[in-house]
Amino acid sequence: MTARVRSPLVTALRDAGISGLVALGLFAAMVGLQTNVTNTGKMELVPNFGVVGLLVAVTMVFRFALVLWRQTRGIPVISLKPSRFAGSGRLVAPLLLLAALTLPIYGGRYWIDVGILVMTYVMLGWGLNIVVGLAGLLDLGYVAFYAVGAYSYALLAQNFDLGFWTCLPLAGLLAAFWGVLLGFPVLRLRGDYLAIVTLAFGEIIRVVILNWTELTGGPNGISGIPRPTFFGLTFNVGGGPGSFADFFGLEPSITHRVAFLYYVIFGLALLTNWVSMRLRRLPLGRAWEALREDEIACRALGINVTVTKLTAFAIGAAFGGFAGAFFATRQAFISPESFTFIESAIVLAIVVLGGLGSQLGVALAAVVMIGGGELVREFNEYRMLIFGVALVVVMVTRPRGLVSGRTPSVSLGQSKLISADMTSQGHG
């Protein structure tokens, strides 16, 4: 930021220029180069710079308009110069959002599939972030709620012939119910003890599902789970009356369904983000953070610690349940194998790697961990090794996660980022 006063037009142009450069850097690699398989079975790179140019132009125009608008309204313009990584959220987040929003346009079927996977973990990460990042309760059994959500939808759809959109809230509610149920016995536990009990809870749910064969099909799982519909329109590959392709007069394509699924999970993830960001600014979320900072002080201020912890468990679990229901409808088949401890570990790793409590950090970590995992898939057995080394490197260089620091939920004047050294990580 400079002290000199510039005319609004110059400032806006300058800002648009910097945004354009950043967009170019991001999109050139992500969108500009497409891999194709040639007839001979070789891989070739197809440059696709027309789209990059378009995206960069869109970014610049939007930024130009935004800066100009903000200046006329007298809202201070935040300089785009990436001074510190932590402060760059304002820039990275919208670009990430734009890239995510347009993925089905520039990405092929494979990348949309990867996108769905990444988004699922982004959502799980954001859901767990409520429990671990905000309330400071270490939960190693988050996959249990994912499983409850998935089986709730699968069983409701099979036994009562309910559709996805009816079951989605039910799956969330049931998961929240189990969250409260888990919450009760573990309320008195802290730290390591809490981690062990939640870990056990995750395993109990899986073992029950595995052994309750009459209800859940046991190890055979449940298949033929119905796909979601678009306002009643199906995504049949064959088209036909009542299908999405037929209604809009399109050639039936499996890509429609994949893209639709992608936008469903994208919407669900955004909902998770919106709710948790909003809660942070409300008394309930503030109480969660206070609980993470100092539980005893919370009690002394008249905050019902039990209820506050239970709401954190329940709301975190509800989002896990939503994600689970989505997982079931995407896969059309679920079995207990999908809900092992490693899933909990991955989601927790995403939250810790991203930075406890940081929404952007969690999203970035999910992209890096899940998307990056897809990129190095060809290394097969070395994949986990690369993964492990990368984790260690990040944790050594940035011990509080990719994006650390906390934004105050309310401020009288200029709100300042609070360094991660100041905030507590909770005691369980």
Partner: protein
């Protein structure tokens, strides 16, 4: 009718009797100081009153306009919420990663969010939370001003200097709108000027109608502002009266200066006789 009436309060930890059949009163509108040598059981009494410990036996009765309460056995958060007793801690317990303003807003949790259902509704902008939030913010600003922290409202509480953290903790406790404020060594670690400011702040709080129960080692502060002093030693009350009275009480002098045990016993026998 006193505001707080502690009678025959006993607290045992295994074989150790930290508080032994203690009885004292605290009147509304008074600053009542609880003093005594280290290990006398002062903080234990506080922990019993504020629900952090469950007293082994005895009664702690609190009565004000809002009703009569029996504090022993009441959960800690209910004591603050319904009986309106607030406290601070000997070792400061602020939410150090939250800003000064956020600390004061968390203290008004029960006013900003009367119940969980309304707390959840507020996600969708329902339940009238906007008005409650504005009220909470107003009160927070009032107390920021009272403890001279308005300029630092947006800084993390953990980054404040020690004296400011002490003041903030008192302001935070006052944001719960208590009728009885329990302060555990608020002047510890303060320089003389800060102690004077603290005395002024406590007198102001008393003037606004909140009674204060004060544990303090800084005798300058205690003697200047206390209306009533209770002296503990080894869990028992050895003296009780005005600051002037206890200053000249031989038992108190003995407890603080360590007179021989025989002399004390003789004195006790004289008093008993």
């Amino acid at each position: 009718m006193p505001l707080l009436c502690v009678s025959e309060l006993t607290m045992r930890f295994g074989g150790l009797t930290a508080v032994d059949a203690l009885s004292f009163d605290a009147r509304a509108g008074d600053i009542t100081a609880v003093i005594g040598p280290n290990g006398a059981g002062k903080t234990t009494v506080f922990n019993c009153i504020t629900g952090f410990y469950r007293a082994t036996s005895g009664k702690i009765a609190l009565s004000h306009d809002g009703g009569d309460f029996e504090l022993s056995g009441m959960p800690g958060h209910i004591i603050t919420r319904r009986a309106k007793v607030a406290r601070t801690f000997q070792n400061i317990r602020l939410f150090s990663g939250m800003t000064v303003l956020e600390n004061l807003l968390v203290a008004q949790h029960n006013f900003a969010m009367p119940n969980v259902a309304r707390g959840l509704l507020s996600v969708f902008g329902l339940g009238g939370y906007r008005g409650l939030e504005a009220q909470a913010l107003e009160r927070a600003k009032l107390w920021l001003d009272a403890v001279q922290l308005t300029a630092r409202a947006d800084e993390p509480a953990g980054s404040l200097p020690y004296g400011a953290q002490r003041r903030l903790e008192i302001a935070r406790a006052m944001c719960t709108r208590p009728v009885l404020l329990c302060l555990d060594e608020p002047a510890a670690g303060l320089n003389p000027r800060e102690s004077d400011e603290l005395s002024a702040l406590l007198i102001r709080i008393r003037a606004e109608g909140t009674a204060i129960l004060l544990i303090e080692h800084d005798m300058g502060v205690v003697m200047r502002i206390s209306d009533h002093v209770v002296v503990l030693d080894h869990g028992r009350k050895i003296s009780d009266g005005t600051a002037e009275y206890i200053r000249n009480d031989p038992h108190v002098i003995a407890a603080y200066l360590g007179e021989g045990d025989e002399g004390l016993d003789d004195d006790a026998a004289e008093v008993a006789a």
